[in-house]
Assembly symmetry: C2
Homo-oligomer: 156 residues x 2
DNA sequence: TAATATAGTTAGCCGCCCCTAACTTTTCAA
DNA sequence: TTGAAAAGTTAGGGGCGGCTAACTATATTA
């Protein structure tokens, strides 16, 4: 095939890319220790992951140096971050889940969504936010529906 | 705590429970070979999983016998199946993804959803299907929105 | 009922990803 | 500038969940 498929990484490696992406977002640089803290894993695990990611051409990294994303790594990271954001918004804004719950769920689900579903979910969120302008406001209506459900349950 | 939390299983073990659940749904019985075929793993892997699930009190199983779900196993399996169905409906009916894509995505995501999100997603699907009766039909509106998006992209 | 085919198990291997402990390199401050 | 603290690496181990190959038990059928 002519088009190169985007590299397929494990959920764990995607998480490392995501962490590096966020750490390098300011002007800062991704130090091993910070990655370890952000991901709540040991520094040794980070070393191993960086080695693997470097072999796969996802990060620039030399022993005792800091990590930066390659072009390829950036692409993958952005895709993961995008999915994370979409899911967080969906769970939080639309379904009305508590932010911390929405975050956590997004973290776990972000590695399982394909291109097609991601695009459609994104579109759906856009679609719903557009209806807020023309009086329908699906979000608010659902919120009311949900409250009624909850109350009904509590009375039983 | 007084209430016993539902046993936490790995995604893989949940998949085994799901497979056994479906195989034993008719009057049939879950044979090791059928589980292997359904899940596309080796028979040896099934033996290992059944041993683990049996230790965890999720299946009744004796070597060279067939597998049945215990009460606890049924509970977990039903919960997984429920999530699978909810996700399939959401991806398929609501987002309008192709059934096979919706299925596959549901398979992967079903192990990542917590109680809260599952309940809200379920409610959301109910909510949307109810709006179809009173003239709004969110599904149809989104379908049109999506088509317009697709066409816009194709023209570029 | 004996032989063979089928189903199930065991043993042993591998990859992934985490860990701790001990060692090396780098940084920083006295 | 040198020695201690901090950061990073290496070595080795464990759990999980796949796999194949070889063995055992069960079923079938000639």
């Amino acid at each position: 095939m002519a088009v190169k498929a985007i590299e397929k990484l494990s959920a764990s490696l995607e998480d490392y890319l995501e962490a590096i992406y966020h750490l390098t977002a300011g002007q800062e640089v991704a130090r091993s220790k910070d990655i370890a803290e952000a991901m709540k894993v040991s520094r040794a695990s980070v070393t191993g992951a960086l080695k693997t990611l470097s072999e796969k051409g996802m990060v620039y990294y030399k022993p005792y140096g800091y990590a930066t994303l390659t072009e390829k790594g950036q692409q993958v990271a952005r895709r993961v971050v995008r999915r994370h954001e979409i899911l967080t918004r969906f769970f939080g804004e639309l379904l009305g889940a508590d932010p911390s719950i929405a975050q956590a769920a997004a973290c776990r689900a972000e590695h399982t969504l394909g291109l097609e579903i991601t695009a459609r979910l994104m579109a759906f969120i856009e679609f719903v936010s557009k209806t807020q302008d023309d009086g329908q406001d699906i979000t608010k209506q659902f919120q009311q529906y949900w409250e009624r459900l909850r109350n009904a349950e509590c009375k039983m």
